[in-house]
């Protein structure tokens, strides 16, 4: 199994803020069939985005501050993002902590919200977003291999 083009296009539309396109593409995906590949794509993208922002010397305080910033962007995000889970996910991507006791749905849910926040903060153009998506796809396939 590998990440498909449809899954990549769906995640790219979401991260680019093209939500109409994202809604159209996501309806074409079968949760039972594409759930695994799409989850691997999200996990790979989350790892890459966290690595870009925090791996160069970021501290736990930086992580905590960033999570607070994302949650303060809207009341909805404040409700949907558990700060403890979000911090553990980011630290886990940096090679610390464990998330074995975190619910699977909570993991992929928080990953997706933090991923789009991290990509939105990078202010990537189309070329930068394409490169990020290419790396994300490679990592996703590595997860599935």
């Amino acid at each position: 199994m590998a990440v498909t083009d449809e899954q990549v296009a769906t995640l790219r539309a979401y991260l680019a803020g093209e939500f109409d396109e994202y809604e159209r593409l996501s309806e074409r995906l079968d949760p039972d069939v594409d759930g695994l590949g799409y989850g691997a794509l999200i996990a790979g993208g989350f790892f890459e985005a966290v690595d870009r922002r925090f791996a160069g010397g970021g501290t736990r305080a930086d992580v905590t501050e960033y999570i607070g910033d994302v949650r303060s962007r809207s009341e909805r995000l404040s409700e949907q993002i558990d700060p403890v889970v979000a911090e553990r996910l980011i630290m886990h991507s940096l090679g610390k902590n464990s998330i074995d006791d975190v619910d699977d749905k909570m993991v992929v849910h928080t990953q997706l919200l933090l991923l789009i926040a991290l990509i939105g903060d990078e202010q990537l153009d189309d070329a930068g977003l394409d490169k990020f998506i290419a790396t994300t796809r490679a990592l996703g396939n590595r997860l599935l291999s």
């Binding site: 989850g39 690595d51 995000l77 749905k105 992929v108 997706l112 919200l113 490679a138 396939n141």
Partner: protein, 397 residues
């Protein structure tokens, strides 16, 4: 032990009597009451002597009577039931179990051994006295002397044929009698028969208490082993066709396996399977070329590999509720969610609202205070001017 015998009753007679055709003389012709022929008692004694002289395992008249008693039916009654000599031969070929004879495993083993030469040597060696005895049986059962039942068994060669069976009926032959018996026929059987078959048959009989099913399975196994290689390959890897309560042993042990094997779904699924596996060359094109991963340092990849097991979850729930993540994405990107009013921040300075035209209490108070202040200051200025002018007029005076 008719299980191991595939021949008919006539062959069964032949099997037992053909062992030593040259050593045993033919019994005297039994025509009691006819001039020039021996009486029934003499014929019986002569037959017993001939049997004893020929094989060493002969049966005396007393043993013959014991056999008749064990069968539980006198010869006269048996003769009445049998319409012809062939029928009487078939009846003699019946198994001991059908005659309600007690089972003796050791004796059955001996019976198997004795039946072996018939299978190996073939009926061509059976010529001689046994064949000659068959028509005599028919002749006697036809009722040449129906009233005399005392010596009817003399000419009936099943006294020799089911030697093991008669031993079973009498119970005289125990387990220890087999190795001690210096029977030449048995010895010759051992030399001519296949050792594997004999030992396997003994094992089957000795280890099993069931007198019916065990020899059957044993016979099936021998038949399968005797098949050619092609037949065995066609028959499959199973050496034995075992069954329990008419259910194949494989299905008896695993009931669901038989149901699944017979199910149509399984056949349909097998038909849908591709003849070849997935094309891994094309699958490989779906994988990344490695350029992205090659740029990563080893520490990053090691962290990623560490994360892969725990942080990689199925996203089916996200795809089920994809619309719910649109508004969250708007919030995370700092963009207004769908359906809300557009809020645009302006870069320039903010202006306060214009003053209202109607005066308020505050405005009145402010005016009063300002007017009072101005009046006070004006009055004080006027007072100072008056004081200064008064001083000037007083100085000139």
């Amino acid at each position: 032990m008719d299980i191991d015998r595939t021949s008919d009753g006539t062959d069964a007679d032949t099997e037992t009597t053909e062992a030593q055709p040259d050593q045993r003389p033919a019994p005297p012709v039994d025509r009691p009451g006819t001039d020039g022929y021996a009486s029934r008692a003499e014929s019986r004694q002569g037959a017993a002597a001939a049997n004893e002289t020929g094989t060493g395992t002969s049966q005396t008249g007393e043993e013959i009577h014991r056999q008749e008693d064990a069968v539980g039916k006198p010869e006269s009654g048996r003769r009445a039931e049998n319409a012809s000599g062939t029928e009487s031969t078939e009846q003699r070929d019946q198994s001991p179990g059908s005659a309600n004879i007690p089972y003796d495993a050791t004796t059955l083993a001996e019976a198997d051994v004795r039946s072996a030469p018939g299978d190996s040597s073939g009926p061509s060696e059976d010529a001689g006295a046994p064949d000659a005895s068959v028509p005599e049986v028919g002749h006697q059962t036809d009722g040449s002397d129906p009233g005399d039942t005392s010596g009817s068994l003399v000419a009936v060669p099943d006294v020799r044929q089911p030697s093991g069976e008669s031993d079973v009926a009498s119970g005289d032959v125990g387990p220890s009698s087999i190795p001690d018996a210096p029977d030449e026929s048995v010895a010759s059987v051992d030399r001519s028969s296949e050792p594997e078959a004999v030992s396997a048959g003994d094992t089957e009989v000795d280890n099993r208490g069931d007198t019916e099913t065990a020899p059957e399975s044993f016979t099936m196994a021998l038949d399968h082993e005797d098949r050619s290689e092609e037949a065995q390959q066609e028959a499959g890897p199973w050496k034995y066709d075992l069954s329990v309560q008419d259910v194949p042993l494989e299905e008896f042990l695993d009931r669901t396996a038989g149901d699944y094997r017979r199910s149509d779904e399984r056949n349909a699924a097998a038909d849908d399977l591709p003849d070849e596996g997935p094309d891994w060359v094309e699958r490989r094109s779906d994988l990344p070329g490695g350029e992205e991963l090659r740029d990563m340092d080893s520490d990053k990849l090691s962290r990623f590999d560490k994360m892969r097991k725990s942080a990689f979850k199925k996203a089916d729930d996200i795809l089920d509720n994809s619309k719910e993540y649109i508004n969250s994405g708007h919030d995370a990107l700092g963009r207004p969610p769908i359906g809300s009013h557009m809020q645009v921040r302006q870069a320039g300075p903010e202006f306060t609202d214009a003053a209202h035209h109607s005066a308020t209490i505050g405005d009145l108070m402010t005016g009063v205070l300002v007017a009072g202040f101005l009046l006070g200051e004006g009055g004080r200025h006027i007072y100072r001017e008056l004081v200064r002018k008064g001083d000037d007029h007083g100085g000139h005076r």
